[in-house]
Amino acid sequence: MSTQRLATVLMGALPILFVLAIWQALCSFGFAPPSLLPPPGKVFLRLAQQLGSLGFLDDILATMIRLFAGFLIAVVLGVGIGLAAAVVPAINAVVRPLVQVLAPLPKVALYPALIILFGFDHASKITLVTLDALFPILLSTYYGASMVEQKLVWSALAAGTPRWQILFKVIAPAALPSILTGCRIGLVISCIVVFLAEMISSTDGLGHLLVGAARTFQTVDMFVPLITISLLGLMLNGLLYGLRKYLLRGFPEV
C-alpha cells in the first residue's frame, strides 16, 4: 500500500521535473540570456537562502494570513448561502439573480474601491480573495445540495428525523463531495488572487516582493516568490486532498 502511494507521488513529480529540465535546458543551451531567465538551480538556491531570512518569512506570513482568511470566509459564506439557497426557495429567488450578475464580474475591478474602503493592509486583500473564491464554492454547494437523492431524504424522514434537521443530517453530508470540489477550485483561485492583489498595491507579501524585484531587474529574486506561491499552493492542495479523502471515505466516487 505504501509503496503504491510512493509510486503515485513519484509519478506526480515526473511532469514537474520534466518542466524544470526544460527550464534548465533553455538556460544551458543559451536560448535565454541568464539576465532574463536565471537557471532553476540558482533560483532554488536563492529560495533556500531567503527561507533563512526573517524579512522573507514575514512576507510569506502576510500572504498566508490573507490567503487563509479570505479562503475561509469564502468557504463559510459559500457553503452557507449555497445550502440555504438549495433548501429555501425564497432565499434561492434572491440569491440566484445576484449570483448571475456578480459571478462573471472581474472582482479585481473592485480592488481600487476596496482599497479606498479598507486601506492598503490585510482587509482589502482578504475581501478580494473572498469575493473571487466565493462563487465557485457557492455554486458547487448549491448544485450538490440540489441534486441530493430524494430517497435519502425520505429514508431519514421515515426514520423520524424532523424536517428542520434534514439539512444538517442528510443534505449537507450528501452534498459534501460537491462542496469539497468547490473548495478545491476556490483554493487555487485564492492563491492566484492574493498574489495579484499584492502585486497591484501592497507594502509586503510575496506579490509585493516580485514587483519590487522586477522594478530593480533582479530576475533571480523575481522568480523566488513565484516558486514560493506555487509550492504553497501544492502544500495546501495536498492538505485539502487528505482532508477530502478522510471526509469522503464512504463515498463511492473518491
Partner: protein
Amino acid sequence: MRDKVRKLSSPSERRSTGGRMQVPLRPEIDTGTGATSDERARAMIEIDRVSKRFETSGRKSHLALADINLTVNDGAFVSILGPSGCGKSTLLYIVGGFVAPSEGVARMKGAAITGPGPDRGPVFQEFALFPWKTVLGNVMYGLRQQGVKRTEAEAQSLRLIEMVGLKGFEHFYPKELSGGMKQRVAIARTLAYRPSVLLMDEPFGALDAHTRTRLQNDLLNIWERDRKTVLFVTHSVEEAVFLSDKVVVMTRAPGRIKEIVDIDLSRPRVRAELLLDSRYQKYVVDIERMIDDGRDDAEHP
C-alpha cells in the same frame, strides 16, 4: 372511471373469472362503506378513493392513479403488481406520506396520513443508504432519531445486522458491499425503528436472479417472526405470489386496481415445494394472463 372499477368487481365479472380458474378469485374492493366492523378493526391501511395527478410541462397533466380503494389488514403481506408506469410506486409513496394524493385520502390505523413517520418504514430499490455512514451507523440511525441511547442502539443494531446475515460487516461502508448486502442493510435500517408497516418499493428489482431468490427467502423468514404488515411493490408475478397473502393487480396508466387475488397457500412457504405446487403455478399463470389482458385493452381501446 368509477364505472369501470364497478364493472370489474361486479358479480358477473367475478363469476366469469372464477369460472375460468379453479382457484377462486375474490376481488375485495373496499369502497369504505361496505367494510364490516370486524374488517375495520383489523385494517392497518385504508386507501380511500385516491387519485394522483402529476403536472407535466404544458397544459396536460398526467393521471398516474385513478380512484384507488384498498384495505390492507394488520399482519397481511400484500403485493402490488403491475406494468411499469402504472403508478404502483406512487401508491406506495402516498402511503409512506412522501407524496400527497390529488384526491382521496390514505389512512393508517384510521388516521389520515399527512407525512412520513416511523410507523411506516420504506425500503427502496435504490437502497438509499447514507454513504457517509457505516453499516452500523446506517442501522443505528433510526434508533438514535427515536432517542434511544447510543449503547442500547448499538446493541440492538448489532443484533439486527446479525439477523440479516451481515455479522462481521458492521464497520464496512455501503460502497464496499454488493447489491444484495446493501439491500440487507437497508432492510435492517428500516426494521430497526420497528415500523408497524413495511413499504417495499421493488426492493429486489436491482439484484441478480440468484441474490433475489435468497433475499426473498430471507425476507419471508424474517417476516414469519413478527408478521408485520407489508406492502410490497413488484413487477415480478412469481415474487408476488411466492411472498404474498394478497396480490393487487393494477392496469397500466392511469393505474387502477384490476383484480385483487387472494393467495391461498400455506405458510411457512418453502420455495422448493412451492415451485412444484400446481396451485402456485396456477396463480402465476392466471395473474400473468390478467396482466396480458390489460395490454390488449391498451392496444385496442
